[in-house]
Amino acid sequence: MPRFMMITALIALVAVGAFAGGQTEATEDQPVTIRIAYPVAVDAPVTEILDGYAEEFMAENPNVQVETVYAGGYEDVKTTIQTTIDGGGDAPALGVMLATDLFDLANAQYIEPMTPYVDAMENSEAYLDDFLPAFLSNSYYMDELWSLPFQRSAVVMYYNADLLAESGHGVPTDWETLGETASDLTERDGDTVTRWGIEWPSGWPYWLFQPLAIGAGQNIVGESDTEVYFDEPEVIAAIEYYNSLSTEYGAMPEGVQASWGNVVPNFVSGNTAMIIHSSGSLSNVLSQADFEVGVTGIPGPDGGSFSVPGGGNLYMTTGLSEAQKQAAFDFAVFITEPSRAADFSIQTGYIATRESALADDAMQAYISENPQAGQTRDVLATAGKELAVQNLGEVRNIFHSHLQSAINGDMAPSEAMAEAQRAADEALADFR
């Protein structure tokens, strides 16, 4: 008898294990549940902000349940969505992922075009025209609109205006004055540097490097989605200038600096006079710095101010029911409404994505109190295109690897970039 019971128990156990994975399908009249995956590696209380928006949306739409899924960074959100869809599971309906991931996500059919839903809006044209063109231009591919700008930023230079004034320097306007100012602001105690003139992180370098290349006269990416320009003389000159900030001017730590997380604390504590970083750190910088903070673009060799946009867009994933798609799109529109775009910008420091958000009363009041928020937006006026090409992961990795070799002195800049161009052309060959 015990043996019989044991066998029965084993069969039962296996049966339960095998069938526990099955789920019941939601029927039409049940409330719709959508999930939104969001990266939390941002210098702001994004979970509270997002949860708040979800609550508001659910109050207005009692039939929709919005659940927030938080993951570390953009990469983690992307991996979550990819693995869930590859494994045949229910992926979050919306995800905030890098605007530049568009081609890979669309080619691999992880995302759904939003065009039909935008077209169905009453004021679709006005809705789209309201987004800043620098941000919305990343959203089109194969004549479809695939994403809505949400958490957008730009490369900016933060400077300690008090230190500049004390030392009698103006805001650097070209490569030479930037180098000289940074050099003057560097302080040493014997061999030890007690204050760096400038810090320019290079642990994941393409983004912060791009404005230098654009300033020199050649963006590393072309207009089409399969062109890169790594080995142009202007790009090489930009690398040489970057290196000269440490080798010639002695104003920046030498070699590759994986200092993304360190430079903001260094800057606000007065240990670094100028930093190149994301405009997304603005709120954090302003709330911690006890000195006058200035924000500007990256100067070019002979003047000008340069930048590239960055940050994440809202994407709708594939494999949703029609009701989920509509609810997901409605929620995406809801959180990009001007007043919320303004609120999100004020609370996080990301740039408001829409003209009408910038004109919003709360935003105007905030800008008059913190003119830097307006300056980050001005930087965008002359911003170039962010590196966004087919096979982005591989091409970006090739560029990073060779740029770091040039920064660390393992390879001469011209040699490293020639090699990078060759490898990138190979990686893009299948897409041309």
Partner: protein, 293 residues
Amino acid sequence: MTRRGNPLLPYMLIFPTLFFVLIFTVYPTISSLIGSLFQHRLNIPRFRDPVFYGLGNYIDLFTSGQFRMILGNTLRYVVTVVPLWVVTALFLALWLSRPRFARLRVAMFHPTMLPMVSAATVWMFFLTPDYGLLNEFLRFFGYSGPENWVSNPSLSLWALVFVAFWKDAGFYMIFYLAGVQNLPNDVYEALKLEGAGPLVTFFRFTLPLLRRTTLFVTTVAVIGAFRIVDHVFIMTQGGPSGHSTLLLYHLWRVRFDSLNVGQSSAITVILILMLLAFTVTNFLISERRHTDA
């Protein structure tokens, strides 16, 4: 009363284990092996459905200088960190096996309990250029050499080795502690009576008696060394210029960043073969010594 039982019973009893081994080990291995023979790239429409590619993925990998460098990094990482783990674990176990050191054992074991992500983040703080604790510590001794631990091409891999070593040496110590505490006391009493010195005792008796434990620990440690990847994500992202890219991190990047399913399957197969080769050799050597003895 017959002793003949239900002939199905043994199969029923192993079924749960077999079921999970088939689902989580055998099936993925076979599917990787098959997948590695196909050009399957999710971000290229014409390769979105697998196209037969023969050994193309393997040829692509082994003709790539980058992949050879990654294999080299991985081997250097494994052959450094595994002996460090095993030797340290053994000596910690011998030292801490006495009951009065019970609390110290907890201290040595505690890094194991931390998630690798937290441990690596804490170490990032220690390894910060300029004012990081490690640099402050070295400066105290008058050293002002290379300071940028995670971004220096010749140091970043060793920074990973160091953090992995710190984190898991205590874990392998636990196995040796169990082994040491099971050593026969009478042998040691006899050795004492015979007047054997500590070196003779260690090399002629303790080490051979712990052989089974050593076999287990080295096997688990090698697999562990290949398997741990979190600190690469947190500390170096494989950089600078790929100098600290390990095989498993590269696998992740090929699969999720480059969306190249076929090539990532080929890397999986290479990883499995490397682990298999090591484990089988380890067992063979150990078993032969066992029968010789």
